[in-house]
Subunit: 312 residues, 2 copies
């Protein structure tokens, strides 16, 4: 790679700084077939923080029956005590919250659905029932001084219901904030959003009283739209973007797969746009190449492949 | 795939209609290892036009020694007489022009470089020498009533020279228009552009007297930036975007490869944005799946994979 690329050409309509919420160790690894040893996960989180990622979602306290890949949360957490980053963890219920707090978690995330069909499929509950389940969890987390992120899945489309009306996503979003979430990550779980839809949803949320500063975006690259959608969100003023190192989570070579936006592709764009992230792309690339070795498959990140000349 | 996706949410800041300049049969196939039989190429062009692509770059009259994949231009052209689309062809010099015109070509394209290093590598000439070579070709083409497209490679970055100064790209662009080109396609040959750079180059070209309506953009997805860059160009008012069916040309699994923006990924975005293209995504997808079968490898287009559940 020649030096001086990408050329930095700032766009004054974009935020000066963006916080990348790195989801590779949690959302990424939980969707990979290969189960990675706990020591490797710990090194992964350490290396991501050393690459400059200041928020690394570390693991999940969902029951191991549902997410066997992250069954070692209890063993992993003590290995992360000195990581210089915020380390949110996913908790599904009160028991998960208790375990996370006992291990020193200072930030938690809960996981809701904008559609009834996915709430049923993923949580075996209606949307109302799932919110009722989260309410005491969010309250207890806040009482314990923990920051709470809400994830909202299927904000744009759903495999069963098709296109999701904007007002429906706004309604469920509002309720997650009413429960006490500090931040909401808008998930395009099946990757069907396009940039105008992104802007329209963000605008509708603002009109419903949600400030942009409390919103994050979480795009999947199933249809190749993730980075263009992220750009639309940045233009709207969003400053928190979820991404997964090496595009971990949902192999793009598998049927109906829905890979995360790759952190490397996002950082390449933000470097070119002069938007500060604090991330060292060289250190990040080295980390993702190393993890790809553990997973035994190439990364779907195009920037990672270009920078590392990774063969399939 | 559920119906009703992507949801159409127009963005009033974008053009109502975009012309896709389909480069699969020429730029795509010339960079594929597999040489496709002439009959398959002819069917490919017919099917692309039937899918609604109104401009399909059909072949190249570069010497077969340099582009053996397209050595059958003479045999292919008579098989395309009834294709209901504009069918530009690439010509490198006077001899290529004569052959193309004799076969009924009504539109030609010439291929220049924004950098000295690539002019030397690709054309074995300086930029000045290559422009001097094109001058009589463009003049003769126009005299014969043919429309002339100029391609300009390495508009953003170059493997040898690194970042290419905007004023350098503007200078060579102006000269291609001065020669008589009707349209100029700005090529990000190694895929290193980011959206702010795109906007800045388009703005600088406008300031140098080039109207946006005579510009096309040609992005490669090497770093995953192609669609975000296309979006930036559309926001600037560009209405002609080059793309390659199935992302043909430059396999993303090969070393240092530089695949074209996939037409399917572009159409998915434009469908969501309510930007008219005339393209039927179902027919296009079927065509690209069929061609992937002939090439014996899966397409790198994410939309194509998602819609066709293509396995590697």
């Amino acid at each position: 790679m020649s030096t001086g690329l990408p050329m930095t050409v700032p766009d004054p309509s974009l935020p000066a700084r963006v916080r990348i919420h790195e989801v590779g160790p949690r959302d990424g690894l939980q969707n990979e077939k290969t189960v990675v040893p706990t020591e490797v996960k710990a090194e992964f989180v350490h290396r991501l923080a050393a690459a400059g990622l200041d928020t690394v979602e570390a693991t999940s306290f969902v029951h191991p029956k549902w997410v066997p890949q992250l069954a070692d949360a209890e063993q992993l957490m003590p290995m992360l005590g000195d990581v210089p980053a915020r380390l949110p963890v996913l908790v599904p219920n009160q028991r998960g919250l208790d375990r996370a707090l006992a291990l020193g978690a200072r930030e938690i995330a809960v996981f809701g659905s904008a559609t009834e069909a996915f709430a049923k499929a993923n949580l075996n509950r209606t949307v109302d029932e799932s919110l009722a389940m989260f309410a005491p969890v969010v309250a207890a987390a806040r009482e314990a001084g923990a920051r709470v992120r809400g994830y909202l899945s299927m904000c744009f489309g759903d495999p069963w219901e098709g296109a999701v009306p904007i007002e429906q996503t706004v309604r469920v979003s509002r309720r997650l904030f009413d429960l006490g979430c500090d931040e909401l990550s808008l998930g395009d779980t099946i990757g069907v959003a396009t940039p105008g839809h992104v802007t329209a949803l963000l605008t509708a949320l603002n009109e419903a009283g949600v400030p942009t500063g409390r919103l994050a975006v979480h795009f999947h690259d199933t249809y190749g739209q993730a980075l263009a959608n992220a750009l639309a969100a940045l233009r709207h003023g969003v400053t928190t973007v979820d991404a997964s190192a090496g595009g971990l989570g949902g192999c793009p070579y598998a049927k109906s797969a829905t890979g995360n936006l790759a952190t490397e592709d996002l950082v390449w764009m933000l470097n070119g746009l002069g938007v500060s992230t604090g991330v060292d792309l060289g250190l990040l690339t080295a980390t993702s190449v190393w993890m790809a070795g553990h997973l035994g498959r190439p990364s779907p990140s195009r920037t990672l492949r270009a920078l590392s000349h990774q063969e399939p």
